[in-house]
């Protein structure tokens, strides 16, 4: 079947963007909160998708960047009184340094070994931060910026992260690197012999993902106010991202967006049922994997050719 990008896609995307950008005007505080969570999770899951769905880097350690970015933001605002937006950016930059350091070790590993490597790094960071007096051990930090931003400001920051992450993934995939990435994902050895610079492309994606994940975590913790190592570096983060990307459709740009939408809505309604919510989330994930192994958007693309943001240029 010939895949053809959805005819009115630019209208649709423009409409969604305008809808999101005007939430503070038309929406209630509750809609604003949902929009905020939606944008943040889109950014985080889009980055996991870039790593796992496109670059073949199965990362189980996204929480390393979330915690590191969050803590960098908390420390720079609290201890050094740096402007909150600047400190969010610092969180992203520090995450890139962390990613560079991690890459020295884990880029020698492939597949599942890479996954375990990222996970171990996250665990090391958890131990480090929970035993570090500077960040008050496991007590956690209250984030008290010198200029506390309003909810609307935080929302717009999250919107920048959400929309920015989608745009960056789209641009990367449409570039030469993206072409190489997809070749690499399909067959690493062959693509290498065809001249794809594997190491450089992978590292590039890893650093981009680290930056966006770290900065997004900064926005997230400005909203949450309270950061604590056991939750910031928790595996739960990556589990949520995997859920979002798998049900939405791995290796598609729209997948994480659709997945996040479902995830946020489910969370809102299920959270009142306590532990059953986890059971239900699990059942939904299993059902979707069985019925539509490529996720909602992946299956839709395969069956109908429906595609909004195509990484292909033909």
């Amino acid at each position: 079947m010939v895949r053809r990008p959805f005819k009115y896609r630019w209208y649709l995307l423009g409409f969604i963007f305008i809808l999101l950008a005007t939430v503070p005007i038309w929406g209630s505080d509750y809609v604003l909160l949902l929009g905020l969570l939606f944008c943040l999770y889109v950014a985080l899951s889009q980055m996991w998708n870039l790593l796992t769905g496109y670059s073949g880097l199965l990362s189980l350690g996204q929480q390393a960047f979330i915690g590191f970015g969050g803590y960098t933001m908390a420390v720079t605002t609290n201890y050094y009184g740096i402007n909150v937006w600047l400190s969010i950016l610092t969180g992203g930059i520090f995450s890139v340094f962390l990613a560079l350091f991690m890459s020295l070790f884990i880029f020698r590993m492939r597949g599942i070994f890479f996954a375990i490597g990222t996970w171990i790094f996250a665990e090391i960071l958890l131990l480090w931060f929970s035993n570090w007096e500077f960040v008050k051990y496991g007590m956690g930090l209250f984030i008290k910026p010198p200029n506390p931003p309003s909810m609307q400001m935080i929302y717009y920051a999250s919107l920048v992260m959400g929309v920015g992450s989608v745009a960056i993934v789209y641009l990367i995939l449409r570039s030469k690197i993206g072409l190489g990435l997809m070749a690499m994902r399909d067959n690493e050895d062959v693509s290498q012999s065809m001249g794809v610079e594997i190491f450089r492309s992978k590292l590039f994606c890893f650093l981009v993902a680290a930056f966006i994940t770290g900065a997004t975590a900064g926005v997230l913790y400005v909203f949450q106010i309270f950061i604590q190592p056991y939750k910031a570096f928790a595996m739960d983060w990556t589990v949520s991202l995997v859920f979002i990307v798998i049900i939405g459709g791995i290796g598609t740009i729209e997948g994480p967006i659709v997945g996040t939408f479902i995830f946020i809505l489910l969370n809102q309604y299920l959270s009142e049922y306590g532990h059953i919510s986890l059971l239900l989330l699990g059942s939904i994930a299993i059902a979707i994997i069985l019925v539509a192994p490529k996720g909602i958007m992946g299956t839709l693309q395969e069956k109908t050719g429906f595609e909004i943001l195509s990484p292909r240029r033909l």
């Binding site: 005819k7 929406g27 509750y30 007590m139 106010i225 056991y230 959270s271 306590g274 033909l314």
Partner: protein
């Protein structure tokens, strides 16, 4: 992107330039329309009020579930008493409104607690927040209340970790202080038994563990106690033998702990197995509830000391109905068949403070409610509450010790009351053998 535009001109209805132009027009229309929309979507509040809503994030499940156990029983009896005569009079509406609560489970998780509080504020539009039970619940909830300018009353979490998030404008808190209350009570208990003054420290890596160990290190040293502290440990640790062996090696005769209940059960069983039996064990947070004393198994709970912040013997009574602490505990036992719990009184007292403040405010305006809470000066079932300039009030603390009970397998006896002599002693401190 541009390639697509050119190659697909036939099939595509729109190129980029068109898109920009059209979306600008669309954006303008949406913006214009949205100026009238908010009135439709946003209103629906205030006009038709038929109740006052209190938000209640509660650790119903997870490691702190023992604290949440008395809910909604204690909440319901308090609400019934407040609503007996129609509720709280609101001047602007010229009528009385009954109180309702909305409870959300925090799963004992601080991130979830913060999210639950945010949801209660923006979705359920609560008028007031009531939060209890350990810093893991209270700290994130009060932080979110400050952000949303939501009046908040909290109890049952030590003062020091809570004060770390201050200065507060919207949140008011009442409980005891680690430095001013826990240290005198615990060292007072230690002093009652003759020991070599060597203390083994077992503290979790959480707000309580971090602040307790810091304060005890400073104060305990001054009083001539030698502390053996191997550091904080994470929740769910399965092997405490490095700690226990270090205490044995140094011949510690006192154990000082602050952990969540499941971790203390693991640790104390291993102490027994490895032959470490201190003469005195003062255990914060973990041994507050009879269910945990029972869960230790055998005679393991016998002689363990803990802090007692509320009991049937506390000489206080309800400002709502005059019910005494004893009467409340008896009622709990009669209706549930269970032994009394320390959080019961505090859960109830939160509603006393809320009702008192709302009555004086006679308004649903957030700032009026906040000021009314700040001016609180009442005698509740947990003692007198009057907030100071840092928005907190201290409640009395005494020491207790677990011993074999008469009606229930384990009873906590009040054995140390020099910190609050108006609370009578019901037993005498004995050494663990």
């Amino acid at each position: 992107m541009e390639d697509t535009g050119k190659k697909k001109k036939g099939t595509e209805a729109l190129n980029r330039r068109d898109f920009v132009k059209k979306s600008a027009i669309a954006a303008g229309t949406v913006l214009a329309a949205s100026n009238s929309l908010p009135k439709i979507i946003r209103t629906a509040e205030a006009a038709q009020r038929d109740h006052i809503l209190i938000g209640r994030p509660n650790p119903t499940t997870g490691p702190l579930a023992g604290f949440g156990e008395g809910s909604p029983w204690a909440d319901e009896i308090a609400i019934k008493e407040i609503n007996k005569n129609g509720g709280i009079y609101i001047k602007k509406l010229g009528k009385k409104l009954p109180i309702k609560i909305k409870m959300i489970d925090t799963e004992s998780n601080p991130s979830k607690a913060g999210e639950a509080a945010a949801r209660l504020i923006v979705r359920d539009k609560v008028d007031l927040m009531l939060a209890y039970h350990t810093p893991d619940t209270v700290n994130p909830v009060t932080a979110i209340c400050e952000r949303y300018k939501m009046p908040s009353i909290s109890l049952d979490a030590p003062l020091e970790p809570w004060l770390g998030g201050g200065p507060y404008k919207w949140a008011y808190h009442a409980f005891w202080s680690v430095e001013k209350d826990i240290v005198p009570v615990y060292t007072g208990i230690w002093d009652e038994i003759k020991t070599n003054k060597k203390v083994g420290v077992l503290m979790a890596n959480d707000p309580d563990g971090v602040s307790w160990s810091k304060v005890f290190k400073e104060e305990g040293g001054k009083m001539g106690y030698e502390l053996f502290d191997l550091g904080r440990f994470p929740y769910g640790l399965q092997d405490f033998s490095p700690f226990i062996n270090a205490w044995k090696k140094n011949k510690c005769e006192i154990l000082l702990a602050n952990t969540i209940p499941p971790d203390f059960i693991t640790a104390w069983r291993q102490c027994k197995r490895l032959g470490f039996v201190p003469k005195v064990a003062t255990v914060g947070k973990a041994l507050l509830f009879p269910s945990v004393a029972k869960a230790l198994g055998g005679d393991l709970a016998n002689g363990i000391s803990t802090e007692v912040w509320w009991s049937p013997h506390h000489p206080f009574s309800s400002s709502l109905s005059g019910m005494t602490a004893k009467q409340m505990c008896d009622r709990w036992t009669k209706e549930t068949g269970k032994e009394w719990l320390q959080p019961l009184g505090f859960k109830y007292a939160g509603y006393e403070i809320a009702a008192d403040a709302l009555k004086r405010a006679a308004s649903l305006d957030k700032d009026t409610i906040r000021q009314a809470i700040g001016a609180t000066d009442i005698k509740t079932i947990v003692g007198p509450i009057k907030y100071n300039s840092e928005n907190y009030a201290r409640t009395p603390l005494v020491g207790g010790q677990w011993a074999k009970g008469t009606t229930f397998p384990w009873d906590v006896k009040i054995t140390y009351n020099k910190t609050a002599p108006n609370i009578p002693k019901t037993g005498k401190t004995f050494a663990i053998s």
